[in-house]
């Protein structure tokens, strides 16, 4: 390529670009700018920043000052077990306090591309430092979970959305509760436990908020129990909490048939269950007669079904097209094609991912059922193409 005087500039460009990619100088320039600009002035300032938004410049100073999108900064990462870690995240402005048991969606950049996943908030709301926590278990081959547990570093900026979810305690909570959890399924329950137990302690050990709580938790070994030490300490401190740990490697899986032995009055308790799909299914069968006493939280889609024809999918708003296989949700097909797909739970419960079908039919991956008429709103995370499909996304 060319030589001559231009080459002298090349280094200047290098410096410019390299410097800019560090992004976080002026970081501490204070809340004054923030409130001055964001307080009602935004509309006027927009005339100065058009076609961008004021926040596009403000986020040069602090990435969390981003009005339309919620972001968070990973402040700390604590290992919980060999393959699970708690991430302490400082949310930017606009975070609404969650209810214990709810989840948050988090968008993480891995190798330059953004991936959204859902994680239960593992602590009660109102941490003194204003942060929230999620606790992630690395699943084998898991893209995001392994990244968060093994690679992510404090200081990383993540996208946030939420909180949301209906796996929460009613107000006031029932007098007697049963929590049935396994693996990372302890996370939403841990947030609830704190909500249930600690306020009572704070009131100087007066009348406890709940009569009693039974927690039956399964993990391969004692060392694999996420929050193990803390749960044991809570049990020692609060007589109204009873913990039973099942170490499945030596003792085998906990079956519904074991329930009467471990918790004789299980049928009189309201139960919150969170764990692998098989366990949730057994629980639903076991509580079949009294489903109003059962609350479950799924961490992954129930029995995803492969098969079907697949087809050419056209995303009409973004003008993208791709060939999708019969077992691939439209959500994944769209994301892989670079379409900005809205999503939430990614397992068919929250409806954040719906798009309007303009033509073609889809298969519900949960049931195998083929459906769809032009104009239908379909959940892209659990629908796959059956033949050519056009969707308004």
């Amino acid at each position: 390529m060319g030589a001559g005087p231009i080459d002298g500039w090349d280094r200047a460009v290098d410096v410019l670009v390299a410097e800019a990619s560090h992004g976080r100088f002026w970081a501490a320039s204070g809340a004054a700018v923030e409130s001055a600009v964001l307080g009602g002035l935004v509309g006027a300032v927009r005339w100065l920043t058009t076609p961008l938004f004021p926040e596009d410049y403000l986020s040069l100073v602090n990435p969390l000052w981003c009005g339309r999108e919620l972001r968070g900064r990973i402040e700390a990462i604590h290992a919980e077990t060999a393959d699970a870690a708690t991430l302490v995240i400082r949310p930017g402005r606009g975070w609404i306090p969650h209810k214990p048991g709810q989840w948050v969606r988090i968008g993480v950049d891995i190798e330059g591309a953004r991936h959204w996943r859902t994680y239960s908030l593992s602590g009660p709301p109102g941490r003194p430092d204003g942060c929230i926590t999620i606790t992630v278990k690395a699943v084998p081959d898991g893209l995001v979970s392994r990244h968060l547990v093994r690679q992510a570093a404090p200081g990383t900026i993540v996208e946030l959305a939420g909180p949301d979810g209906s796996f929460v305690l009613p107000e006031p909570p029932p007098r007697r509760l049963l929590f049935l959890t396994a693996g990372s399924g302890i996370t939403p329950v841990r947030a609830m436990l704190h909500g249930l137990l600690t306020p009572a302690a704070a009131r100087g050990g007066a009348k406890p908020r709940v009569a009693d709580v039974v927690l039956l938790h399964s993990a391969p070994t004692s060392a694999d129990v996420i929050f193990g030490a803390e749960l044991r300490a809570l049990t020692a401190r609060f007589p109204n909490l009873r913990l039973y740990e099942r170490h499945t490697r030596t003792e085998g899986r906990l079956r519904p048939g074991d329930l009467p032995d471990l918790c004789p009055d299980w049928a009189e308790r309201t139960a919150w269950v969170c764990g692998p799909a098989g366990m949730l299914q057994e629980a639903e069968e076991h509580w079949a007669g009294s489903l109003d006493r059962l609350h479950v939280e799924h961490f992954r889609p129930v029995l995803p079904r492969a098969g079907g024809e697949g087809g050419r999918v056209r995303f009409t708003k973004s003008g993208r097209e791709t060939d999708a296989e019969g077992g691939t949700p439209l959500l994944i097909a769209g994301e892989d094609a670079g379409v900005l797909m809205p999503s939430g739970c990614r397992m068919g419960i929250c409806h954040s991912c719906v798009g309007r079908l303009t033509s073609g039919q889809v298969r519900d991956l949960r049931t195998g059922q083929i459906h769809g008429e032009a104009g239908d709103l379909v959940q892209t995370c659990v629908s796959a193409a059956v033949g050519p499909v056009e969707i308004e996304l």
Binding site: D10, V17, Y57, L340
Partner: protein, 370 residues
């Protein structure tokens, strides 16, 4: 001129497959570094713009005026070329960041993104250098190919081309309107007026920002700030005009007829993109400031490949062209610009004779390929 006459059909397809391989390889290797690159350029551009605008508050000091104007012009060029143009091509859609995505981006030009994407990404990139189809070809105003029928109005084109350069962003916006399709009934007046309103909205915002709000904020510096902003916009316009014209109109760039395109295969499409585009040689600053359109050939072969990778594949594309005996046109900025102006001047007059018949294929050597 290209020497493709001896290229067999099998060779063309093999050439296409080789290009597909390069494309797949690069797209599969996109990662963190690429994301850091575009975020870095965007952050640098915004800081440069902020810096320029702040400096201009002291614009009664001549050095501050010069530095502020230069910073602002540079920022506007970066925004239009390396960032806006490439983001709107979907080069960064793979990151799935809604802030850097072809479906959400608005550039600091008066063309609304949706209209620009249609006329540029769809019409121009599909019909590259096809007479009567590629509306970029001379932007309908100019005669840039002997295949276009001469008209006395073209005698003035050397002059109005310069005027076009100065108001280039407005030229693009109006040309995106495709008004020539209205009389034939191909386009409704209603659609046109909706588009016009969108353009007017962007024009108003740019005018208020650059010629009213910032000058007013500068108080006594109203006039120097206004002039600085005007200079920055004009500089950006002339620069964009220069780079874009160097991409398709210098000596060596070929034009095609619609008939030549019938049944075009992927390999032939690649060959047409290659022969219709010209590169500009230069260093990294030139590549950055031209939005990597200095790698026009690579850009036309792979319009949605992130622009920071063009420099990396350019030597491989050049070697491939050598292997297949295809011409790979490139030259210095001065040479290519000179060549473009020479062409515009020459074609202001009738002829050259051998191409006077408008239907005649202007690039007969491609007949063998197609």
């Amino acid at each position: 001129m290209a020497t493709t006459a001896r290229l067999s059909h099998a060779d063309v397809e093999e050439f296409g497959r080789e290009l597909d391989r390069i494309r797949d390889e690069i797209l599969a290797s996109l990662g963190k570094k690429d994301a850091q690159y575009i975020r870095g350029v965007i952050a640098a551009q915004r800081k440069l713009e902020l810096g320029g605008r702040v400096l201009l508050f002291a614009s009664w000091l001549p050095p501050a005026w010069v530095a502020g104007t230069a910073a602002l012009a540079t920022a506007k060029i970066l925004e239009n070329m390396e960032i806006g143009h490439n983001v709107l091509h979907g080069q960064w859609d793979w990151m799935r960041d809604p802030k850097i995505h072809s479906t959400t981006w608005e550039s600091d030009i008066v063309s609304p993104s949706a209209q620009w994407k249609h006329s540029h990404n769809v019409v121009h990139h599909t019909w590259t250098n096809v007479l009567g189809k590629d509306r970029d070809l001379g932007y309908t105003l100019l005669r840039v190919s002997p295949g276009q029928r001469w008209h006395p109005v073209y005698l003035l084109q050397p002059i109005y081309n310069v005027l076009l350069a100065l108001v280039f962003e407005y030229g693009i916006a109006l040309y995106d309107l495709e008004v020539e399709r209205i009389p034939a009934g191909d386009k409704s007046l209603k659609e046109t007026s909706t588009q016009l309103r969108a353009i007017a909205g962007k024009v108003r915002r740019q005018i208020v920002k650059d010629y009213l709000a910032f000058p007013l904020l500068a108080g006594p510096g109203f006039v120097p700030v206004l002039l600085a902003n005007l200079t920055a916009n004009l500089t950006r316009n002339v620069w964009a005009h220069t780079i874009i014209f160097c991409g398709h109109f210098p000596e060596g760039a070929e034009v095609f007829t619609e008939e030549q395109l019938e049944g075009e295969t992927r390999g032939e499409w690649y060959v047409r993109q290659l022969l219709g585009s010209c590169n500009i040689d230069g260093g990294r600053l030139l590549h950055l400031m031209s939005g990597n359109l200095s790698h026009q050939i690579e850009h036309h072969l792979f319009p949605d490949m992130p622009s920071n990778r063009y420099a990396e594949i350019a030597p491989r594309i050049r070697a491939l062209c050598e292997r297949f005996g295809l011409s790979y046109t490139s030259g210095s900025l001065a040479r290519q610009t000179g060549s473009v102006y020479k062409r515009i001047l020459r074609l202001a007059f009738p002829g050259p004779r051998q191409h006077a018949e408008p239907a005649a294929p202007p690039a007969p050597d491609l007949q063998a390929v197609i």
